[in-house]
């Protein structure tokens, strides 16, 4: 067909495919695509890419947000299933987003204050002493079956109450697994919302806390749990 170097840029081909081109330019480009094999192949690739992207849904991303709390900046992230990450010890947002990238290699991390507004509001209410339970779906799908079972059980411990590790182990039907329960709690990706801070040692001492024991103490005192705990 035509020969010689093609004067049309990749940018123009892309703008045609994405519809970001005015009518006259797009007519000229359409005609050119009939004549230039190279541009046509490029346009075909962009059409596939566009189709692939359009076939993705918002739920396939991981949406994140961060906001100020009494514990410092709170980083939260959610998949289409629910809240999947909550942490307050990552200083800068870049580190948090990078972390999300390693957790979810095939979920683009998207900042979304609006999508996580409920989470933010409920956490503010909790810290202000105006909320005793969270009404948020959580995504625990990255955990093992045992870990999930432990966390589901812990979700039922009411505000203001505490339960020993051994009691959680008994409740899930593995009475000898108190230590494993402690490990599972240590993997809780959504602390506070799944209240692993309400699990303590049988002798009344606090036990460990992934987020730092001083935060465990603060959370329990916020909940008005009798302060009989020493380390």
């Amino acid at each position: 067909m035509t020969s010689g170097p093609c004067r049309v840029s990749e940018e123009q081909v892309l703008a045609f495919v994405t519809g970001d081109m005015d009518q006259n330019a797009s007519l000229a480009l359409a005609e050119h695509l009939g004549e230039c094999r190279g541009c046509r192949d490029q346009a075909t690739e962009y059409t596939s890419l566009l189709g692939g992207l359009q076939s993705c849904s918002a739920e396939e991303a991981v949406h994140w947000h961060r906001f100020e709390t009494p514990f410092g900046m709170m980083n939260v992230a959610a998949t289409g299933t629910g809240l999947s990450r909550l942490s307050w010890r990552q200083a800068d947002p870049e580190a948090f987003v990078h972390h999300l990238g390693s957790l979810y290699p095939d979920r683009p991390a998207i900042h979304d204050a609006e999508g996580l507004a409920q989470t933010e509001r409920q956490l503010h209410e909790y810290f202000a002493g105006e909320r005793s339970r969270f009404e948020l779906p959580v995504d625990l799908t990255r955990l093992s079956g045992f870990e999930r079972e432990v966390l589901e059980c812990v979700r039922t411990i009411p505000f203001g109450d505490v339960v020993p590790y051994s009691e959680v182990a008994r409740r899930i039907g593995s009475p000898k697994a108190a230590r494993a329960v402690g490990n599972a709690l240590n993997h809780n990706p959504v602390a506070i919302v799944v209240p692993c801070h309400r699990v303590v040692r049988a002798d009344g001492s606090l036990g460990g806390y992934g987020g730092g024991v001083r935060y465990k103490r603060r959370l329990l005192s916020l909940e008005g749990t009798p302060a009989l705990f020493s380390d």
Partner: protein
């Protein structure tokens, strides 16, 4: 008269017939060049007329029906080329008794990409620099327009568009191996 039929959302048949007469031959040639296949060209041309009836272009003063028709026809041809390329690929390494028709899911997506390829698209998208990643995703996966994306990114509309384009260029490059398996035509 024409106002009333526009309100119904359909173009009156005589108007479409006029377009068929005036632009049909050149569109057929254009589609033949695009697809290199007369049957495909004919199928796509029929789709174009259906679109022209169902979602008629504005044909008032200053409008350009020819440009509209070329745009719709060219997009449909590109879509058909994209599907063919991926169907061939999907056929490789599959049970030789399988045919294209029984491999294709009943409502194959716009691009015909399989789940594994879609996951790769998301994976590469996840690796883009923040602004490009968010702009590309918000534009196509969430279907937001440029002004809304600009608001989300705290940027200008122009820069939202530029981020979408830059991101897509990088994606095409990082996914080159998908396109390269093209079979000689």
């Amino acid at each position: 008269m024409s106002k009333a039929s526009s309100a119904l959302g359909y173009a009156p048949p005589d108007r479409v017939e006029k377009w068929v007469g005036r632009y049909g031959p050149e569109l057929r040639r254009h589609l033949g060049r695009m697809t290199n296949n007369a049957d495909d060209a004919e199928d796509i041309l029929q789709q174009v007329w259906i679109s022209a009836v169902e979602k008629p272009p504005d044909d008032g003063p200053g409008s350009n029906v020819r440009a509209w028709l070329y745009r719709v026809a060219t997009n449909a041809a590109l879509d058909s080329l994209a599907r063919k390329r991926f169907r061939r690929q999907a056929l490789q390494g599959v049970d030789p008794g399988a045919t294209a028709s029984n491999l294709e899911p009943p409502d194959a997506g716009f691009s015909g990409l399989d789940e594994e390829t879609r996951a790769r698209v998301r994976e590469q998208c996840a690796k883009l620099p923040t602004k490009q990643r968010e702009a590309v995703w918000l534009r196509w996966a969430e279907g937001l327009d440029y002004p809304t994306i600009a608001q989300r990114l705290g940027s200008s509309t122009e820069s939202a568009r530029a981020n979408v384009h830059h991101g897509m260029k990088k994606l095409r490059e990082s996914l080159l191996d998908i396109w390269e398996e093209e079979v000689e035509r």
